[in-house]
């Protein structure tokens, strides 16, 4: 009897240890980034590096937020506009695919066409897009980012919205069509209130993807007029003399908003990351 107890305790201890290792493996990198951002410059140069900041300071954050506010504003502007433009274009498309009577073959091929894009590497199309951006005079402007992000986000948005719309039975609208309500009207008065949380989560996902985007921002922007936060990070990283703490602070600021948003929309994250294939 006692032997069984000992064995069970050992097993529980081992389980707990592995769980702790898993947790620290996930969280330690964050911890280190935050610590680096909080350390005072004097502490940075101690060796071996201190695991806990003894005299934490917010000065690096303040420095980044005051000197680099344009990056933050650009990021916000580009992501928000992308979300709005993408939703504006995708909602009608998804509505059409899911609500109008089309042949199953047409629906399948349309969706597959959009799915193709999930596998398209942005780096492979960035040169033609670059040429286009230059030709349109959009180089180093937020519009170049907004357009290219929208282009790359629309397929995902259509897939997600289509998936969400398919889950709402047609009956609830059909009743109102019989009363003579137009499709547009019944979309706004009946469908939208039902499906609003899902639409909001889609918007959140699109926002995060635009916010985190790097390749287009790297190539289409040149000055603080249009550079976003990931480019601010890149500027710090590619300098000859690296400002480690500014780098850490930018990392924290860049990660903060997407993390909060993802946590808010966590029910739909997997759907978003797998094009709706895992629910």
């Amino acid at each position: 009897m006692r032997l069984v107890n000992v064995k069970r305790t050992l097993k529980r201890a081992a389980t707990l240890a592995i769980l702790l290792i898993i947790l620290s493996w996930i969280l330690l990198p964050y911890y280190w980034m935050v610590t680096m951002a909080l350390k005072s410059p004097r502490e940075l140069f101690t060796y071996p590096p201190a695991l806990f900041p003894e005299e934490p300071t917010l000065r690096h954050f303040i420095r980044i937020l005051t000197q680099g506010s344009s990056f933050l504003i650009n990021s916000l502007a580009a992501s928000l506009s992308t979300v709005m433009l993408t939703m504006l274009l995708s909602i009608p498309a998804a509505y059409g695919i899911s609500r109008y009577r089309v042949t199953p073959g047409f629906r399948k091929n349309t969706l597959l066409f959009y799915l193709e894009q999930r596998f398209l590497p942005p780096i492979a199309v960035v040169i033609p897009l670059f040429a286009l951006v230059r030709a349109m005079g959009l180089y180093d402007s937020l519009l170049s980012l907004i357009f290219s992000y929208t282009l790359f986000n629309i397929p995902l948005a259509i897939w997600l919205l289509n998936g969400f719309l398919q889950e709402v039975p047609r009956d609830i609208e059909e009743a109102s069509w019989l009363d003579g309500t137009t499709r547009l009207r019944s979309f706004f008065t009946i469908l939208l209130p039902v499906i609003f949380p899902q639409f909001l989560s889609t918007a959140i996902l699109l926002f995060v993807f635009s916010w985190n985007e790097f390749i287009f921002a790297l190539i289409f922007t040149a000055t603080i007029r249009s550079q976003t936060l990931p480019i601010a990070a890149w500027n710090l990283v590619s300098q000859f003399k690296i400002d480690w703490q500014a780098m850490a602070a930018v990392g924290v600021i860049t990660s903060l908003i997407p993390t909060l948003l993802f946590l808010a929309a966590r029910r739909y994250i997997l759907r978003g990351l797998t094009f709706g294939m895992v629910k």
Binding site: L19, L120, V208, A233, P258
Partner: protein, 260 residues
């Protein structure tokens, strides 16, 4: 594809394609990409499978379960650029924490200069990428495992099935289609890896961590040879199209259609 003849005529284009055949850097970057992709994909799926199995079988309470879910979402929300920054901060010799931990554990004596030798640089990038994307695999597998009815487990335990048997005959069988989905998504995502390598090593030391995407960037936007860059883009596109066209058909048949 319409931009094929951007700035150049068709004649130059053919010369570019001829150049591809003798391009040592392209061959090197292909090799690096293959090593990197196979390492990152297999690592994230194996570790992901282990972690998902572990959490599924030993974390039962809904409260502690959601703690794990929240933690797992964090790396996914992080921009690859930020993940790269974290990698730099952790592995850099003088300021980094990884060497300190290894020293405390007694595994190494001196310092490992992670970014200075080709094998360790590639390893470092792979590890950071695994850190970022393993949670994705874990979450997918957890969703799949969650759909297994608990009665089956109880029945299997009553029949005296061992942990290993349960894993092989039940969990893996249930996860089959998700495993395939994961493999495809990871594979295609890793083939276009760019951000994290740019931030961590920029392709160096030398050109040892230069994947196809980074090579294309170097040619097109550092040397500004846009026409050869386009040629490289076409090659990348062809490879990806070959992979993805095959994958999408399988995906539709195995994952999307049955789910409707």
């Amino acid at each position: 594809m319409s931009a094929v003849d951007y700035k150049t005529g068709q004649f130059v284009l053919f010369r570019n394609f001829g150049h591809v055949l003798f391009d040592r850097f392209l061959l090197e970057s292909l090799k690096t990409t293959l090593i990197y992709v196979s390492a990152a994909v297999s690592l994230s799926i194996l570790v992901g499978l282990f972690v998902a199995e572990f959490i599924h079988h030993s974390v039962k309470g809904p409260g502690s379960r959601s703690i794990f879910t929240v933690c797992l979402i964090l790396p996914l929300a992080t921009a690859p650029v930020a993940a790269g920054i974290i990698g730099r901060l952790m592995f850099t010799p003088q300021y980094g924490v990884v060497n300190v931990i290894l020293q405390r554990l007694g595994l190494i004596n001196g310092e490992i200069l992670w970014f200075s030798t080709p094998p360790t640089a590639l390893l470092t990038v792979t590890m950071m990428d695994t850190w970022q994307w393993t949670p994705f695999v874990v979450l997918i597998f957890l969703a799949g495992l969650g759909s297994i009815p608990t009665e089956i487990y109880e029945a299997a335990r009553l029949d005296g099935a061992s942990t290993w048997t349960i894993f092989r005959n039940m969990d893996l069988a249930y996860l089959r289609s998700l495993l395939m989905l994961c493999l495809m998504l990871r594979l295609t995502d890793e083939f276009r890896v760019f951000d994290i390598i740019m931030v961590m090593t920029q392709g160096g030391p030398g050109f040892s961590t230069e994947t196809m995407g980074i090579y294309l960037y170097r040619i097109s936007f550092k040397y500004f040879d846009l026409s050869y860059g386009t040629t490289l883009a076409i090659i990348i596109l062809l490879i990806m199209m070959g992979i993805s066209l095959a994958l999408i058909r399988i995906l539709w048949r195995e994952v999307i259609e049955p789910a409707r």
